[in-house]
Structures are given as C-alpha cells and as structure tokens.
C-alpha cells in the first residue's frame, strides 16, 4: 500500500515529498527509494479524522507524515478511532442533535436551574442571607434612596400596623423591619430585601394615606416575598444559570448569544412572575385571616396602577403588548384574582 504525502522531520519546517508504505506491523516513509523513517504501527498515537482534512500521522519522535489525499484514512485505524468524524457526518446524529439540543437546553434552564436554586436557598445559612441583604441595601440606598420626608406621626402609625400584623402572624420582629425612604427613581413603590428589610417609599405612603388597609395589603405582599425567600431564590437562580451557561456553553459562541440569551431572560421573567403571584396569594390569604378583605389588595393595585399610568399614559397600549415580557403579572389579572 503506497500513500503519497509530505514528511516533516523533527522540529523543522523543511518538508520532503515522500511515499509511505504500510506492512502489517510497520510504516516506512520513502524518499527517492531511501527509507527515511520507519515506525511500528503500535507506537502511533491515533486520533479521529476531521471532515475534509488529511489524516496525518504523528510519530513518537515528533516527525509527521501528511497524506496528500485529504479523504484518505489509514486502514490500520479501527472504526472507533473515527467515531467523532462518523458522528459529525452522520445524518441521524445531526438530526438528533437539532431536535434534542433545544430540548436539553430547556430542561436545564427551566427545570434543573430552578431546582438547584430552591435547593441552595434551603441550605444557605441565615448570616449569609443577612449579609446579602445588608450589602444590597447599602448599595440601593446610595444609588436610589433619600431620607424620608414623611411626618413622624404618619410613620409611627404605619409602623404600628406593621408590628401588630407581625405579632398576629407570629413573624420575627428582628427579621421583618420596615423603613421609609423618599425615592424619585422608584416612585410609588415598595420592595423587600432578602433579609427581611421592607422599604416603603414616601410616594406610596402618601398615595395610600387614606386607605390604611390597602397599605397593609401591600406590606403583606412584601412580607410574602420574604417568607418565601424570593430575592434569595432569584439571586441563586440567576447565579446558577450564569454558571450553568458558562460551564455548558462556555465555548460555543453564537448559540449562547442568540438562543440562550433570550431563553435565559425569559426563564427569569417567568420565574419572577410566579413569585409575584405567590406573594399576592400570601397577602390575600393573610388579609382574610387577619379579618380584612381581599378587596383591600385590589384597591392597592388599582391605586398603584392609576398613579403609574397617569405618569406615562401614552405608553399604556405598548405596555399591554409587552406584558408578556414583564416581570409582574398584569395589574388587571391581579385585581381580578383579588376580587373573585
């Protein structure tokens, strides 16, 4: 068996045009009828071929033989030496990959990652959550919060409602803490930090000043976030998906950007809508158990929706369209849910 090709001696760029002949045990490289190299086939390191590329031989001493015919494959290589090349050329393997890759990506991002997040939240020590909350709180204060300008008596009144609700629900007062801040960037809003700090903006307190029960409903909604550890879960979820994406798709540029970038953020949004629903249902259940009506919650959402849409009325229709992409369920859905 004669194979034409190029022979490169050890560490040299000076190649020779040669012919390789193979016997059962050895391979000889011949140039002008002189044998210039002879190696045992058993000493060769075999690797899988590559579509359209010559199947080159790397000898033990560092010299190489490259066949001229790119489609030539050495007869002493077994089928499983070429398993990768065969898979990459197989129509069935390619078809399977086109079908199963998106399926696995969906499983990983929508099933495995949330499961990991929930599991890791349960194992997270309390002081880590405390640290996480305090540090985020410090950053948010710096960026978006100013000292409250609410009158002291208004603050005390809401604090009193807050404390009595905590007692009624037997929640720990050293964990659940309420603060007021003025914030232009948040507007009328309330949010909960992972370690139990709940922030109500001046705008919200004023908006619901004559609807104390509606404000209580909002506070209960925020408590719901803390009870269900939503911030910790969403952080764990996004950290886990970042790591999973980096590990699994670290090197496969292109896919990561297109298919996954959108997929991951959609997964995230869906996750956070579910959390809002969970916090809503916590608020509705506790409102009933504390002797209030779930209508109070609907009132709060209505008031919030009004205050937000009056700011940017012309965007309302766009918002309806983009609702699917948003992090909260639609206001109408939440109101209907409370009133039913």
């Amino acid at each position: 068996m004669h194979v034409k090709g190029h022979f490169f001696p050890i560490v040299s760029s000076n190649y020779q045009v040669c012919v390789a002949t193979i016997s059962d045990t050895h391979i000889e490289v011949i140039n002008d009828e002189h044998v210039i190299a002879r190696h045992a086939i058993s000493s060769l390191k075999l690797s899988s071929g590559m579509a359209g590329l010559a199947d080159e031989l790397n000898f033990e001493d560092g010299s190489r033989f490259i066949p001229q015919d790119v489609s030539y494959r050495w007869p002493f290589k077994e089928n499983n030496d070429h398993v990768m090349e065969r898979l990459e050329k197989s129509k069935w393997a390619i078809l399977a990959a086109v079908i199963f890759t998106p399926l696995f990506m969906w499983l990983v991002l929508y099933k495995a990652v949330p499961a990991i997040a929930v599991y890791s939240v349960d194992t997270l020590p309390r002081n880590v959550v405390e640290q996480m909350g305090e540090q985020s709180f410090t950053l948010i204060k710096k960026i978006a919060l100013d000292p409250s300008e609410l009158p002291a008596e208004q603050q005390t009144k809401v604090q009193a409602h807050f404390t009595s609700m905590l007692n009624a629900l037997s929640l720990d007062q050293s964990v659940y803490r309420l603060s007021f801040y003025k914030s232009d960037s948040f507007g009328a809003n309330a949010f909960a930090l992972p370690h139990g700090r709940i922030v109500v903006t001046d705008d919200l307190a004023n908006l619901l000043a004559d609807k104390p029960n509606a404000l209580k409903a909002v506070l209960l909604h925020e408590m719901g976030h803390v009870v269900h550890q939503h911030s910790v879960r969403i952080t764990a979820q996004s950290a886990a998906s970042t790591i999973v994406l980096a590990v699994v798709f670290g090197d496969l540029e292109g896919v990561a950007e297109v298919a996954l970038g959108t997929g991951a953020s959609f997964a995230q949004q869906g996750f956070s809508r579910d959390m809002e629903r969970e916090a809503d249902s916590f608020a509705l259940t506790q409102l009933e158990s504390l002797g209030y009506s779930s209508n109070d919650f609907a009132d709060a959402i209505e008031a919030l929706q009004e205050s937000h849409t009056s700011e940017n009325g012309h965007l309302e229709k766009v918002n309806d369209l983009l609702e699917y992409l948003s992090s909260h369920p639609s206001a109408q859905e939440r109101i209907d849910n409370a009133r039913k």
């Binding site: 760029s13 020779q16 190489r64 197989s90 640290q131 798709f249 496969l252 292109g254 012309h314």
Partner: protein, 369 residues
C-alpha cells in the same frame, strides 16, 4: 529541496537584498458550511448532555477544523492543544468564576473588592491566554510563540485605557494602537520575531472616519423616521400621540438602526485596522503579508450574518463562521521567502491553559486576526 537554496559560494546576494520569494498568493480556506454544521451541532449536543465536560473536546474539534482548513502555500495550520489541557483550565476557571458570581450575588460589597483584585490579575491572564493560543498554533511543523511581560500588559490593557477615560476617550485610538503593537510585536514564529511598525495616525484617521460614518447613519435614520411623520427631537411635545402603532414600531426601528450602525462602523474599523496591521508586519526573511479587506463587502457580510443567525434561531451560525473565514482568507496575501524552510521550532516547555480558559469564561476576546 536543496536546489531551492542558492549556495552562498556560488551566488553571494548583496546584503539587504531580499531573496526571491518561493511563494506568493492568497490564503486558502477550504471549510464548508455543511461540514462544519455537523461538527458544531453534534458537539453542542454532546456538550450539553455531558454537562459541559465534552465542551473541551468540542473546542479542540472546532479549532482543528478551522486551522486545518486554512492553508498557505498548500500547508495547513495545526491546532495542537489537547482536550485535557482545555478541560483542566476550564475547571479552574469555573471554580474562580463560581466564587466571583456568588460573591457578587450574595455579598455585593465583597464582590466589588474581588472584582478590583481581578484588575491586577487581568494582565497575567491576557498574557497566558495569548501564550497558550500561539504555542498551540503550528504551521509547516513550526510553532508560534508569545513573550509579552506583565508590566507592559498592565500598562497597555489597564493603565492606558483608564487614563483615556480622563481624556474623554481622545486617547483611545492611541491606546488601541499600543495594544495591537504589544500583541503583535511579541509574536514569534519559531525563532523569528514578528516585526511590527504600526502608526498612530492610521488609528486616529480610522476613528474619525468611523465617527463620520456613524453620524451619517444617524442622520439618514432620522430622515427616514421623518418620512413616517415621527420627530425624535420633538418627541416630548407629542405626548398625546394617538398613533400607538408608531410608538410600538419606534423601539424596533431604533434597534434596526443600532444594529445597522454597529455593523457598518465595526466593518470600517476592522477592515482599516486589519489591513494596516497585516501590511506593516513581517517575519524577516520568512514572510510578508498584505490584507485588502474592503469595508462595504465586509459590512454586508456582517449584516447578513446577523440576519441569518436571528432568523434561523442560531442554526445558521456555522455557515456564517465559514463564510467569514472564507472572506478573510480571500483578502489576505502572503509572500514566503526561503528562510521559511530553515526555521527551527523552539517552543518546548508545557503551558497551562488556565489563563486562556479564564479569559474565555469571562468573555474577554482577544482575537489576533
């Protein structure tokens, strides 16, 4: 082969007179979109079901395909890294990335300090990445090498870019020129260093052209919007706009304009700078280069690539990669001199791929072509 070399006793060429080239022609790229599609999609599936472990093998397969299909004078490039090298580096990088992600998520302030520490680690990571990648590249049985120092890398990649912020980025073209010079002048092929002579003027002129081009694109875009009766400058006074369809279309238009501008500007920049670097670099007595990348065909290529990827949900990626490589190879001319036949491969010691992996996972792309 001996006959190619004139023996010194017979013909003594005058000093500084370049020898007759033994080859002059285009770089050939023989990869095919269909072939690479199979490699790509099968490797992705294997990577996903092995939870990322196979991605080290996938990376080697992909690089081998592209290196092997790139030929100068009939000789292909070889990618020499082994999957295990890549895997080890990747595991280390993932551990570091894990620590980083968790500290930034759960302890943001501590995370910021860790991020600050990375700034000092970055020059080392960049150097190691370049060193590994070049050492793993072989042509005609001779490897490339990179010998940049930490100090120089720190100045070029950290200090100067920060300094340029204080000059309202007016220093930026100069900084990029410094970075390109640093990367290329530290490359050697066997024992031959790459001689690079880049000019700041070219970078400033290119930056100016990019600025003008992006301004023109913006103006044209505003003009088109004007035709549809939308006035961006006066948007504040159009609160009562009933036409909500136009309001929905606006972000989409903005996005199209943005993508268009990015493609055009990056094509203009990339073409001019690539040509400049290739035309002003050579391995003395071994090879000279010439690049004739044209901005408009390149912009069209980038745009059609983006469209193809978006509308095929990513499946067109292998095709775009192959046609980009084809275009770049097609505009690159290499002239090879007899010195190329007497090179000695000097690269011997082993190199860890950690830094390169760290660079990959943190998404710092320092491509050298």
């Amino acid at each position: 082969m001996e006959s190619i070399h004139p023996t010194p006793s017979e013909t003594t060429p005058p000093i500084n007179e370049p020898a007759e080239p033994i080859f002059s022609g285009k770089v050939q790229f023989s990869g095919k979109g269909g072939e690479f599609f199979g490699i790509w999609i099968v490797n992705i599936l294997l990577s996903v079901i092995t939870l990322g472990i196979y991605s080290a093998w996938a990376k080697v397969r992909t690089h081998r395909y592209f290196y092997g299909h790139t030929r100068i004078d009939g000789h292909s490039f070889d990618y020499l890294a082994t999957p295990i090298q890549i895997l080890k580096g990747r595991i280390l990088a993932v551990v570091v990335f894990f620590i980083y992600t968790f500290s930034i998520s759960f302890m943001p302030i501590l995370g910021l300090f860790i991020a600050l520490g990375f700034i000092f680690l970055m020059p080392w990571i960049i150097n190691q990445g370049l060193r590994f990648n070049l050492r793993m590249t072989r042509h005609r049985n001779v490897r490339f090498a990179f010998k940049g120092s930490y100090g120089e890398a720190f100045v070029n990649f950290i200090l100067l870019p920060i300094a340029s912020i204080f000059t309202l980025y007016l220093l930026m073209p100069y900084v990029i020129k410094r970075i390109d010079s640093y990367i290329h002048s530290n490359i050697s092929y066997g024992d031959k260093p790459l001689t690079v002579n880049l000019k700041g003027e070219t970078y400033y002129l290119t930056a100016l052209i990019c600025f003008v081009v992006s301004s023109i694109t913006m103006v044209v875009f505003m003009g088109i919007l004007g035709l549809f009766g939308l006035n961006l400058v006066d948007i504040e006074n159009q609160q009562n706009l009933e036409n909500s369809a136009a309001m929905v279309m606006l972000p989409i238009f903005m996005m199209i304009a943005y993508v268009l501008m990015i493609a055009i500007v990056s094509a203009v920049w990339h073409a001019a700078i690539r040509n400049h670097i290739f035309d002003n670099s050579h391995f003395e007595g071994v090879a000279t280069f010439k690049s004739e990348l044209k901005p408009i065909p390149f912009a069209v290529l980038l745009l059609t690539n983006m469209l193809a990827i978006v509308f095929s949900l990513g499946l067109a990626y292998p095709w775009t990669k192959v046609r980009t490589s084809k275009m770049l190879a097609d505009v690159t001319n290499v002239t090879i001199y007899p010195g190329a036949l007497n090179l000695i491969d000097t690269a011997q010691e082993q190199q860890s791929s950690f830094a390169e992996e760290a660079a990959n996972v943190f998404d710092i792309d320092l491509s050298i072509t």
